[in-house]
Subunit: 346 residues, 2 copies
DNA sequence: TGCCTGACTGACACCGGTGTCAAAACACTA
DNA sequence: TAGTGTTTTGACACCGGTGTCAGTCAGGCA
């Protein structure tokens, strides 16, 4: 006798199911896909066998036949790790239960081959569609290429809204308005503002929101109180130093993101300026670091999680997924979060 | 005449390549896979056609035929976002150029179906192997199941090293030794230590490292100066308050991670204890937040990026990928990073 | 010249599912 | 009972690649 035990138990295929249930492969497939044209008796029989064999269809084979991969890609190159992971969380939330998985695909914003590279990734049939994060989402040429190659995509925070169904933006203008309104309401008149990098819708919007409220209260917008930053901690320090060297000192500084706000804080503490007694500091984003410093940061809460979720939902719609996810996000509204880095102007 | 223009240009298949090159499908496939048994003339011809058609093989079809998906999964449930994204970066770095992609798969550590769920994910042939992050990596039963189901996997920071090729751990003990040695060397004798949560190899190792150095210098390890934390900012505040209520005050506090260290900082600043003048604070991990607070945090740099990279490399080896990535990580050594939250004991 | 060898090549089945379309089974009418 | 329409089913090709194995062809040797 020749005993060759096969340790490795093979995964059951749809053929196994069909044979054991005494139906054809195709009928088994029908049951798998909830086709209505299967008699209840057959459906039950097949379902029972599937359960018994612990059958799970092979996604590769399905994908090949369906010409779908049931995978979405997240393309990013953003130094802000917290932002990415929040977006990621939102996307995963939206994907949950839809059978879609998420592939992370970092890209190099400064590479001249970026467009090629991303298109390659997207058309290799590896993913059914992609979500582009800022700043990559701002490359209009890339969007055009994707449009041309008929790759489903959604852009988060592009320069401008092009196609509604393929865009998710946050209401940054409103956020900036909320913050400015608040700062003014507690008595600040001399407010420094740190912008983000240029060529960025978000940057522009925040600035506009700021200006709008200043004008509303007939407050002057002094050119030298508007500093251009780079959204980084370091640029926050630099901008802070510039602003704090001015006479008269601004009583409040509103930075376009939390990292820069923390930079200002650092600059202030090195100049022995106490916060919030002598200077109020406000950020934007309410990232995880906002509560980890002391004093903790007054900021605008922008749910990146919701943005990711919304983007994924929009993408799934394009993919024709019967998205039964009820927790759909309709609009993302900024919220003012007052903490201890701001105080009434004395 | 009946003109029905087909706008959608189909992606070229291997058949197209073969036809245009005047060879068989199989030969084209051979060229694709760098099979040695193809004559140079043929190879050139086919390669030229591929380039001309801008042909890219369909990963689904390849996967189906190869019984491989060329995707690895990262399974995690860790509140520490910075850690995850560093690991992720490392994994992606290792995958780069190997043709492998990364799927993110969050799991619920507290779910009773976790094991089933993860096994399902792994065996659905969706991924070729998975990398488990702490705390999920610490579930030995899960590892046993994966072993049984013959799913390639690597665990990062499990409770103990089981199978060398499937484990990546950081040298936490050495890290704690470095930090303790440093604190002692600048004159601290009365050092508070905040442990991480129990049932964690890492927690235990750090504690051992701390004790080893204290004993080396014949310093007493006072039980009430050892506090158990939860690795969160909040637990850092609580632990800090406990330690700072003691008489005599410790002159230095060494927290097992940066979040807790920041918590201590916060506790100290609420008690008007100045840092580092009256109290030195040290963390562990050198996460991105360490440099964003003031004073910035003295900590131990543990490259999570390297850990991710190492884990991915080990996984790729299991998958038999001829990993030509030369930037292989051999060992991950902790580094002491001295910043401004610590100072000579007065 | 004839045979043997080794380097290349291609026909065909297969991976595990799905689409198409015709056939079978059933129900209902005339 | 035959005829018609509707539901349910299965045979077969196909998705886009790869493995197997036999066949072709040129060069070396007797």
């Amino acid at each position: 006798m020749n005993i060759v035990p096969s340790k490795k138990k093979k995964k059951p295929t749809i053929n196994d199911v069909a044979n054991l249930a005494g139906v054809s492969k195709k009928t088994a497939s029908r049951v798998l896909n909830n086709s209505p044209s299967v008699s209840d008796a057959t459906r039950e029989k097949v379902t029972a066998v599937m359960k018994k064999l612990n059958y799970v269809p092979d996604p590769q084979a399905r994908g090949l036949a369906f010409k779908r991969s049931f995978i979405v890609g997240l393309v990013y190159d953003n130094p802000n790790v917290l932002y990415i992971s929040d977006i990621q969380k939102g996307v995963l939330k939206a994907c949950k239960g839809t059978g879609y998985e998420l592939i992370m695909h970092p890209g190099d914003f400064n590479s001249e081959h970026l467009i090629e590279e991303v298109c390659d990734f997207a058309t290799r049939a590896r993913v059914d569609g992609i979500i582009l994060l800022s700043p990559i989402s701002q490359i209009d040429e890339l969007a055009k290429r994707l449009e041309n190659d008929q790759v489903p995509y959604v852009r988060i925070s592009p320069k401008k809204i092009d196609i509604e169904e393929k865009t998710v933006i946050s209401n940054d203008k409103l956020g900036a308005e909320l913050m400015t309104e608040y700062l003014v309401s507690i008595g600040h008149r001399n407010i420094g503002f740190i912008k983000g990098p240029e060529c960025n819708l978000s940057t522009e919007q925040k600035y506009q929101g700021f200006c709008k409220i200043m004008q509303k209260y007939n407050l002057p917008i002094q050119a030298d109180l508007i500093i251009k930053g780079e959204n980084t901690f370091e640029s926050g320090i630099q901008s802070g130093n510039k602003l704090l060297a001015m006479k008269p000192n601004p009583t409040a500084i509103f930075a376009s993101n939390d990292f820069m706000a923390l930079g200002v804080m650092r600059a202030a503490s090195m100049l022995n300026i106490s916060i919030p007694e002598q200077l109020s500091i406000a950020g934007f984003d309410d990232s995880a670091i906002a509560t980890v410093v002391w004093p903790d940061l007054t900021t605008i809460h922008q749910s990146a999680i919701q943005m990711g979720q919304m983007a994924a939902n929009k993408l799934l719609v394009q993919l024709g997924s019967n998205n039964t996810n009820s927790n759909e996000v309709i609009e993302i509204l900024p919220e003012l979060v007052v903490r201890n880095s701001t105080k009434k102007a004395s």
